[in-house]
Every structure is written in C-alpha cells, then in structure tokens.
Amino acid sequence: MDKKPYSKEMLLDIYENMLRIRKFEIRLTECFTKGMLAGNIHTSVGQEAIAVGACKALEKKDFITATHRGHGQCIAKGAKTDIMMAELFGKVTGYCKGRGGSMHVADVSLGILGANGIVGAGIPIATGSALTSKIRGTDEVTLAFFGDGASNQGTFHEAINMAAAWKLPIVYLCENNQYGVSVNIHSVTNTDSIAVRAKAYDIPGVIVDGNNPLEVYEAVKKAVQYAREGNGPSIVECKTYRMRGHYEGDPAAYRSKETTEEWRKKDPIDRFKEYLLNEAIDEKELIAIDEAMDREIEAAYEFAKSSPYPDASEVTMYVYASDNERSVAR
C-alpha cells in the first residue's frame, strides 16, 4: 500500500468500522444458524473495505443508497449496530420498527436513503437524490452502491445516462464481487470490467482493489470532489469477492474452493491490520479496538434480543401518510 499522509485517527477509524461490520455480520450468521433470525441474510464478509473506504470519503450531509447486501454500507454511513440488529430481529426498536428487516434499513437523517431488495432499484433513487441537490443548488453528493449483478439492469443504463447528460452530483460505486447469486459476471457480460462502460456515457470510470480501504477511499474521494464541483457522475468499480454464500444457507457450490481460498488470503481486515502494524501502530491499540467491537456487538445483540416485537394490532400503521385507516380498510 502506498504511503499517504493519513492521520492515525483516520486509519484506526477505518479499522474499527471494518471490524464493526465483520463482527456484526458474523453474529448474524450465528443467530441465523440458531434459528433466531427470520427471512434472508445477505452478508458482505470480505467486502467491508468498500463500504468503509467509500463512506470515509463522504461527508455527513451526503447521501447513499444501499443494496440487499447493505449492512456494511449502512453501518459505514453511521447506522447504529444496536438499532440495526433490532430491525433484523424484527423488533419495534429497529430502524424501521420491524417493517423492513435486513434488506430495507434506512435512516434519512444519516443520509441513508435505504437498502433495497430489488437489484438495481437504488440506482435511480440515488440519481433522484442527486437531481434534488442540483435543482436546489445545494452541494450534497449522493453515492449509489450496487453490485456487478445490478450493472446489467436497465436502471443502471437509464440512470447513468441521465446523470451524465445533466451532470448530476453522484458517484456510482460498483461492488464487483463477481457473482450475481450463483452466476459469474463473465458468463453473462462481455466486458472485463463494469467501469469500462463509463466510456459509453463519456464519464470517468476507474477500477480499484476493493479489498483495500485506502484505495477505495482515494478513488471515491476523487469522484466525490469531481461531483461536488459540478462535473457530474463517475463510476468507481471495486473488485472484491463474496466470502460467504449469496445468503446464509447457500453453500456456494458453484464456485471453486481454490478461488475462495485465494481470496481468503486477501482478506481486507487482515491485510489492513498488517498495514497498520507496518505503520508502527501499537498492536495493543488494535486489540483494544477488537475488544471494544466485541462488546458493542454483544450489547447490540442483547438490545435486539430483549426488545419487544411490534404489536400485531399495529400491523396497518405506516402504509399511508394521510387517511391511513380508510385507505387500508377497503
């Protein structure tokens, strides 16, 4: 990794957030195995550097849309692990009061315009947020997270085309983990990368090592600045690998064990820890962060477990903003 003048505080913050996401999701997998979690759990184990590196390049006022594999993206943008865990447990204390679950975490006050269960659907939503900043003349940047799978949805083309035509302040961030559920991107796409498509829209497109948070940070920072200065959108493609199945319970038998093992050696957290030690950061500090994250996730788990479920009598709440009861009645 290149030597850059990063503050120790920033480096440790990146390390802490990657660990926070990893420990949050590993805890989820344990809860899922024990039958404590309903629904589907899509983890981003192995991809944490992207969410953390990208969100580090954003300001608090900026916006993101997250994906169905979005726990890390939401946490990196500031979502609290206890409230998130409660949502995933279907509890009323969760971000969406138990109405959304794993694929729908949102907190607009943090700039999280929602994770999304429809692949590619967040791309136009993020673009609409960028349009809002443009028409209001404000300087927030919106970042759309999406996967290699979503890049083959029509929404990808439609939204990027409009953002490019109107120079909207947005960054399209592709987490290329190479698989759309079980299908390898190269078996359904002719180009070697997703970022190469930027040429079609005459916008910048770069490819970075998605397992290196600082490389992601540098690329996104540049794209954010470019957008904030009114130059329009960019595509940043982060190459990575999904270490677990598409969702919990998927053994990922469609991938070779050798490839997975190769990527395990490139684990973003292990690599970053090694980098920090080389930067002469005291290992004791890293251990302290590790332990603090263990405590935080334990507390999040306890909060989620002990929180009440939403009352079944409130099942019809929140469908409509006005005239709700009459509108759901018939």
């Binding site: 109405r99 673009t127 960028a130």
Partner: protein
C-alpha cells in the same frame, strides 16, 4: 364559473401548484417545448425553467425511480407517463419503491409524488395505447388512485394530489381532454376520497368513474324515457374508496350497476360488487351487475374497438336487467 377543457383544467391546476410551492416539479417525456402531446405543460419550461420542468429521455423506469429518490428528499415530483400502458416498463419504482417505502421504513419516509398518465379506449390506438389499468394500481397497497371525469374535478383533484404526502396515481382519460365543463373562478381543492353524485335518482345506482361517467349520464337520460330514475355516482377516487357515498346511494335505490371501462376479469368493478354483496346484501333487491370491457386486447379497427369497451347501450341494458325489465 368558467368553461374549460379537462386538459386545460389539469394544466391550470398544475400551474397553480407549481406557482404556490417551489418543491413541485414536473418530469416526463416531451414536457418542454412540445408541452407534452396533449399540451398540458405548454409554456411551463419558459416559465419555471429546466430545473422544475425536467424533460427526460425515453427511460420510464429511470425517471420514475428518480422521482422516488427526489420525493425522499422532499421534492414533490409530478411524473408523467405519456400513456398509462407504459407503466409496464416503470412498474418497479411504482410498485416496489414508491408504494412500499413508507411502510418498509417504519414511517420515516413519505413519497409525495404524483404519477399522471392518460388512459382509456376509443382513440383507435390499439393494444399498447388504449388500456384502462386502474386495477393494477388499486391492487397495490401504498398507492392512492384518482380517476377524474369532469374538468372541475380534474383541476381540484390534481391540486389535492400534489399536496398529498402519499404516492398518487392520477389517471386522465385521453378522450376527456377536450371535453369542456364549468370550473370555479376562485381557487379550490377537492378532497381525495370523496365520491360525487353526478345525477340523483331513486331506482338504481350506477357506480362508475372517469369517462364512463358520461356514458352513464347518457344512459340515465335514455332510461328516464322508460320511467327508470338512475343515480350516477362518480367515485372520482378509487383508493381511498368513499364507502359512505356508496352505502348511502345503495340504501336508497337498492339496485346497483358498476361500470368500468377496463377489462372485466379481476377489475375494480368486481371489487366494489363484492364489497356491496358482503356488507349491503340486505339492501339489495337484485344481484349487482357489472359492465366492463371484454377480456381481450384493445383492438385497432373502429368496429372492433367499439365492440370491445362499454358504451351507453351496454349500461342501459344492464340497468334494465337489474330492475327486472328484461
């Protein structure tokens, strides 16, 4: 009162709301210099500028999805689909995003967005430009559905729709755009979810909406000649449904015909019919009759298209059936 066409009334309603609230924007194809194929936004680009009159490429899914994102940020987008038939390529942002966002975020987010679209048969536009698709939308919780008939209703309801915080599907019948009617001189808003008795009667209630209101009124005139006094209840809004108005009318006439222009199978007329049967069975003197289009693709040729969707004669016949004259 002043006389104006339905398209002019919608234009005036949009114009008033855009002038009143700078958060209101319009988005869609050909909205700029052309002012849309029906002239609804003619002159808006010059007056409100390109930041509020967003002329889009032919990317219905993209721009409808963008409207959802803008609405999440507090913009009040009025999106236009050139024909409601094109919602097929914009259904995800409508069905899975706009409609569900509030519930799925536990009430954090509202989507104050209006999706306007012309619908309806009779313009010889064939299968992909002639459908009445209100049933697609009434089936999706989270959406409100408005289908005005008169110029006054269209203006008052588009204004209410823009001010409402929920995603609203506003379906305009393209064969009504040129129809003129009285519109109040002063500013007014018509509440969403209020039906309107367009003709009072005591023998039978014809429940309908959009252009079929006019066929029903013509049918009532025909029936009057035979001594049948028909009430015409214009629902105006399908979701939320004005059940009190239906109940009041049915309890008076005890006979019901529900008329919809869309195809009969799984239509909203069937929904109303079922609700009346479940809750007002004791009020009924005869089974509820439905009048609707054939379960076929809207045809092109005039002879075929006229045979496809309901006209005055079909309504007259259905009313005579429920009042036991045939």
């Amino acid at each position: 009162m002043k006389q104006m066409s339905v398209s002019h009334a919608i234009r005036e309603g949009l114009h008033e709301e855009m002038s009143r609230d700078k958060n209101v924007i319009v988005m869609g194809e050909d909205m700029g210099k052309m002012g849309n194929p029906f002239g609804i936004t003619l002159g808006f680009l010059d007056e409100f500028g390109p930041n509020r009159v967003i002329e889009t490429p032919i990317s219905e899914s993209g721009f409808t999805g963008m409207a959802v994102g803008a609405a999440m940020r507090g913009v009040r987008p009025v999106v236009e689909l050139m024909y409601v038939d094109f919602v097929s390529v914009a259904m995800d942002p409508v069905m899975n995003q706009a409609a569900k966002m509030r519930y799925m975020t536990g009430g954090q987010v509202t989507i104050p967005m209006v999706l306007r679209a012309p619908m309806g048969s009779g313009r010889r536009n064939a299968g992909q430009h002639s459908q009445c698709l209100e049933t697609l939308f009434t089936h999706i919780p989270g959406l409100k559905v408005i289908c005005p008939s008169t110029a006054a209703d269209a203006k008052g309801l588009i204004k209410a729709a823009i001010r409402d915080d929920d995603p609203i599907i506003f379906l305009e019948h393209k064969l009504l755009y040129a129809t003129k009617g009285d519109v109040p001189e002063e500013e007014y808003v018509i509440p969403i979810g209020k039906a309107d008795v367009k003709r009072e009667g005591k023998d039978v209630t014809i429940i309908t909406w959009s252009r079929q209101v006019f066929f029903a009124l013509d049918a009532a005139k025909e029936l009057e000649k035979e001594g049948i006094d028909a009430e015409v209840l214009d629902l105006r809004t399908l979701v939320p449904l004005d059940w009190e108005a239906i109940k009041k009318s049915v309890s008076k006439t005890h006979n019901v015909v529900v008329v919809q222009e869309g195809v009969k199978r799984s239509g909203f007329a069937g929904e109303i019919s079922a609700q009346i049967m479940e809750e007002l069975f004791d009020e009924l003197d005869s089974p509820v009759e439905r009048v609707a289009a054939l379960n076929i693709v809207p045809p092109f040729s005039p002879t075929l298209e006229d045979a496809f969707f309901p006209h005055t004669d079909d309504i007259v016949k259905a009313v005579k059936k429920v009042v036991n004259l045939i």
